[in-house]
């Protein structure tokens, strides 16, 4: 073992003081669990000091005071198993202690250690020496290896979430992706939609255009391919729009506050939704003819049909959101007037301004964004045969593909980034190339080649590196390596700027920094002016749709907070509750290929028709089946814990007394169940003398094995009928579970085989066997039946 220090305090107070004062110190009692963990170095963190509590006086012993049985934390399991007092007042606890490991182990293992032991999952316990420890979800990693691996001893009741999964963490809007996938698997589309809407009110739009960072970090990428989150989201998004009246219902009550949202792009629409949901009167201003901002005007219809955007804004309008269009702030209405008329104002005006590079002849080129906005103007063949698109982002891709589809014979795309560095998504690059766009990575702009005021092409210079040693964007060029690309039209898509000229001088000074609206770094998107908030590209520079959504939602929260309007977080979903088990579909999860959208063949694609069609609900449900609902699917290993829950025991620590059920089920890891400096000092329980109390444990080898399934029962019967029942199961779920339905069912029922069978059926309710552990459910049934039939 690696070195650790060792302390032997003489009281729990002193032990607790060490734990609190010295980071990395840990309790050692019997050590039979801990030494295994340390020898194999299964955990990334190794304790710096062990605090031995075995020498604390009074911590060991068994006593019954006439009503309560008390067992000290350092009492050996041999003593518990052999104690006449325990056998009389809590026989199932004596049986549970006796069932632990081997007599040799029981001679040193303690009661406190048993209830605080770590899980026995073989992935979790994989020794570090043999190729490195497996950093599973329980150890701060992301994956559960049992989900697609050998899970014969794992949970049959689902897993538990330990932390935010990487997909959700990657999503700027923090969408609880696994949670809505789970609802789809259960067939509850309304709940799935609720979960999605709580993070993102425009899923039909984001599903089509979001960069889906979530998919890059999907745990499935390690074994095959990411869950096609975007495709599933799209079907949910379509479902939401089909049932718009239900999902975009006006708020039940008005808050009495009125707010203005400037800009109706993704950020503005999102803020408007959450603000309205909280009961505020919301007015959205936009300078364009139709609402939607970039969604309506910049993103080509073949990716995002205008009709989807119109349906979305219509749904939002039906919530009671007012849209004031064709109105430019700064021209038609002054910022100061907005402030007077509304209790709070949100600016999400986007990034629409052309970036001027300063090239010779640049005035002859066309701004790529204008090209997309005014695409109809280009329908009549003004484009010419050879088109050069500059830039390597998604806007550049949209421009290039649109140009190609408008009939340009040759579309060349030049960008300073190397192929791997191009900011556009892989799918968009592939689509562009499929349609014949020639991509020239690592070429920077040198000058426009003109002849008498008309464009002939562009001179490019080789780019040798985009980022400097500080990882800042700072392209370096080889001025001796130049070529000329012939082109009649040059479309510049090298980024957009934020135009804040609509703010008068006073406002500009107060609100802006570096060409953007400056917001506080407090997750509420507030500006330095009270009541004024901002989000989207206006605060970020050109960013993604989902970042617009995320900032819009944060701003809505911030504005509600500012206005003193409660709860605009919307929806009823509060995330996976700590005590709920999460589930996945072991069969569907075996599918390695993700679902793909049906796409029009390249020759049939156009400007106005959407390239792809949504998955059907069935297809989307099938893809949702590939989501592993990442969490921990290991089982609670302690034999004593189910017995203690059945007994209604209390865990006594140096700081408090906790009911055993809460202690063992609320937190998944012992490090969470115990507060800092907290140590289990004893366990107390009432006597169950007179009841038929048993601990039945199924395992392969009688000695050493942990429970594959165990059932702790306390039953009483009178006149042939059950009068009292406590049934708790160990080894079957992430925490021991009390079968309250079985308990309730049994009381008043006759002591018959039928009763036992029905109780066994109830015991299985909600079970979800993994690929290799259905046998555990059979065993559980048998043990429940057997315990009941003991009384017959």
């Amino acid at each position: 073992m690696k070195h650790f220090d060792y302390a032997r305090p003489d009281s729990f107070e002193a032990a607790s003081a060490v734990l609190t004062a010295e980071k990395g110190s840990e309790i050692i009692a019997g050590g039979t669990d801990l030494l295994g963990v340390l020898k194999e170095r299964i955990l990334p963190e190794y304790p710096s000091k062990l605090v031995d509590i075995k020498h604390i006086e009074g911590a060991e012993g068994i006593a019954f005071d006439g009503s309560t049985l008390k067992i000290g934390a350092t009492t050996k399991l041999t003593a518990v198993a052999g104690s006449e007092i325990v056998k009389e007042h809590a026989p199932l606890l004596a049986q549970a202690a006796y069932s632990v490991a081997t007599p040799l182990i029981r001679n040193i293992a303690t009661v406190g250690g048993n209830v605080c032991q770590d899980v026995r999952c073989w992935y979790y316990r994989y020794p570090h020496e043999i190729g490195g420890r497996l950093n599973c979800a329980r150890k701060g990693g992301d994956r559960c290896y049992a989900l697609l691996g050998d899970n014969r001893y794992h949970s049959v009741f689902g897993g538990r979430k330990l932390k935010t999964t990487p997909c959700q963490k990657e999503c700027p809007a923090s969408t609880d992706i696994p949670a809505y996938m789970e609802q789809i698997r259960k067939g509850d589309w309304d709940k799935a939609a609720d979960i999605l809407l709580q993070a993102n009110p425009i899923p039909a739009i984001t599903a089509r255009v979001c960069a889906h960072f979530c998919q890059d970090r999907c745990n499935r990428c390690e074994s095959d391919e990411s869950v096609a989150v975007s495709h599933v989201e799209r079907t949910v998004g379509d479902y939401v729009l089909e049932n718009a009246a239900r999902f975009y219902a006006p708020p039940a009550a008005e808050s009495g506050k009125s707010v203005a949202v400037i800009g109706s792009g993704p950020s503005g629409l999102t803020a408007a939704y959450f603000l309205r949901k909280a009961g505020n009167k919301v007015t959205v201003y936009d300078s364009k003819e139709e609402a939607g901002g970039m969604l309506m005007y910049a993103i080509p219809a073949y990716r995002l049909p205008k009709d989807i955007v119109r349906q979305q804004t219509k749904a939002l309008a039906a919530m009671g959101i007012d849209f004031v269009l064709n109105t430019q702030v700064g021209k038609d209405i002054a910022p100061a007037d907005l402030e007077k008329r509304y209790d709070s104002v949100f600016y999400a005006t986007g990034a629409w301004k052309r970036r001027i590079v300063g090239l010779a002849g640049e005035e002859l080129t066309t701004f790529g964004l204008d090209f997309l906005v005014e695409v109809e103007k280009w329908f009549s063949g003004r484009l010419g045969d050879d088109v050069l698109v500059t830039g390597g982002g998604n806007v550049a891709m949209d421009v290039a593909i649109t140009a190609k589809r408008l009939g340009a014979k040759k579309v060349t795309m030049a960008c300073v980034e190397s192929r791997g560095e191009m900011p556009a998504s892989k799918e968009e690059i592939a689509r562009a190339e499929e349609e014949g766009v020639v991509i020239m990575p690592s070429w920077g702009l040198s000058k426009v080649v003109e002849e008498g005021g008309s464009i002939k092409g562009m001179e490019l210079k080789k780019c040798t590196g985009v980022y400097d040693e500080n990882h800042r964007f700072n392209p370096q060029y080889d001025e001796n390596d130049k070529i000329i690309v012939q082109a009649g039209t040059i479309l510049m898509a090298i980024g957009q700027l934020v135009d804040l000229s609509f703010l008068d001088e006073k406002y500009q000074l107060q609100l802006t920094r570096g060409g953007l609206i400056a917001v506080a770094d407090d997750d509420e998107m507030s500006t330095s002016r009270p009541g004024i908030f901002a989000g989207g590209d206006a605060t970020l520079g050109p960013a993604t749709v989902v970042q617009g959504v995320a900032t819009g939602r944060r701003a809505a929260w911030g504005m509600c907070h500012y206005l003193g309007v409660p709860d605009c977080k919307g929806g009823t979903w509060t995330g996976a509750t700590r005590n709920a088990f999460i589930t996945y579909d072991p069969d569907a999860a075996q599918k390695t290929e993700p679902s793909r959208l049906k796409e029009l063949p390249a020759p049939e694609r156009g400007i106005d028709k959407e390239d792809s069609s949504s998955l059907t609900r069935e297809e989307a449900a099938c893809e949702a089946g590939r989501c592993l609902n990442c969490g921990c699917y290991a089982v609670n290993p302690s034999d004593l814990s189910p017995a203690l829950i059945a007994l209604g025991a209390t865990i006594v620590t140096n700081k408090r007394e906790v009911p055993a059920e809460a202690f063992f089920t609320e937190a998944l890891c012992i490090s969470e169940a115990l507060k800092p400096g907290e140590i289990v000092t004893a366990i107390t329980m009432p006597s169950v003398k007179g009841a038929v109390a048993h601990y039945d444990k199924f395992r392969l080898r009688d000695a050493i094995d942990f429970a594959i399934v165990s059932v702790a029962t306390i039953l009483k019967a009178e006149g042939g009928k059950f009068t009292y029942a406590r049934v708790t199961v160990g080894g079957a779920a992430p925490v021991p579970i009390r079968l309250t339905k079985v308990e309730e069912y049994l009381v008043g029922k006759a002591l018959t085989q039928e009763t036992a069978d029905a109780a066994a059926d109830l015991a299985m309710e909600g079970s979800l066997p993994l690929a290799h552990n259905a046998f555990k459910i059979k065993q559980l049934r048998t043990y429940v039946q057997r315990a009941i039939m003991r009384l017959a």
């Binding site: 070195h3 060792y6 050692i28 000695a703 050493i704």
Partner: protein, 168 residues
């Protein structure tokens, strides 16, 4: 609270160890089986599985059979320890009756697990000189033999307990 030195009795002899990380000291992370085998050269207890599952490292600590690989030496402070080497009579060299019974019944194959089995049995017989077969099963359930010598082990135990009974 910090432990500077520890003392223990092993096979009737008293030992004192300085605790620390310098040369010759017992570091806190040293297990009892390591101390017995490396420092005291009592190599009867074997370190086999290193996780308390096989029983090859069994010694008797304050009367109880324990896996010495799953105990820190610092934890054995003040303990009275008996290993297989302490069973024979130090003056005459006469073996413990259990050892003799194992030889008589050839209750071993490679012998690696035998000291552990004998010590587990010794702890049982100290507490319960006439155990039932079930009690013997239970007491030895933490000791594994991969050469399948345990049938002969039970023969030896039967001989031994039977002999004891005859002597009464």
């Amino acid at each position: 609270m910090d432990v500077q030195s520890i003392a223990m009795t092993v096979n009737g002899r008293e030992y004192e160890f300085s605790v620390g990380t310098r040369f010759g000291q017992v570091p806190p992370e040293e297990t009892l089986v390591e101390t017995l085998r490396r420092r005291l050269e009592l190599t009867g207890a074997k370190q086999s599985c290193s996780e308390g599952a096989c029983g090859c490292c069994t010694v008797i600590l304050n009367g109880d059979a324990v896996p010495s690989c799953m105990m820190l030496t610092v934890d054995a402070d003040g303990a009275d320890i008996l290993t297989i080497e302490g069973l024979e009579d130090p003056a005459t060299g006469q073996l413990d009756p259990i050892q003799q019974a194992f030889i008589d019944a050839a209750a071993f194959q490679c012998g690696y697990c035998t000291p552990g089995i004998i010590m587990a049995l010794k702890a049982l017989l100290n507490k319960n000189p006439a155990p039932t077969e079930k009690e013997v099963d239970e007491a030895l359930s933490g000791n594994y033999c991969r050469c399948v010598s345990h049938y002969h082990v039970f023969d030896a135990v039967r001989d031994l307990i039977g002999a004891g009974k005859e002597g009464e």
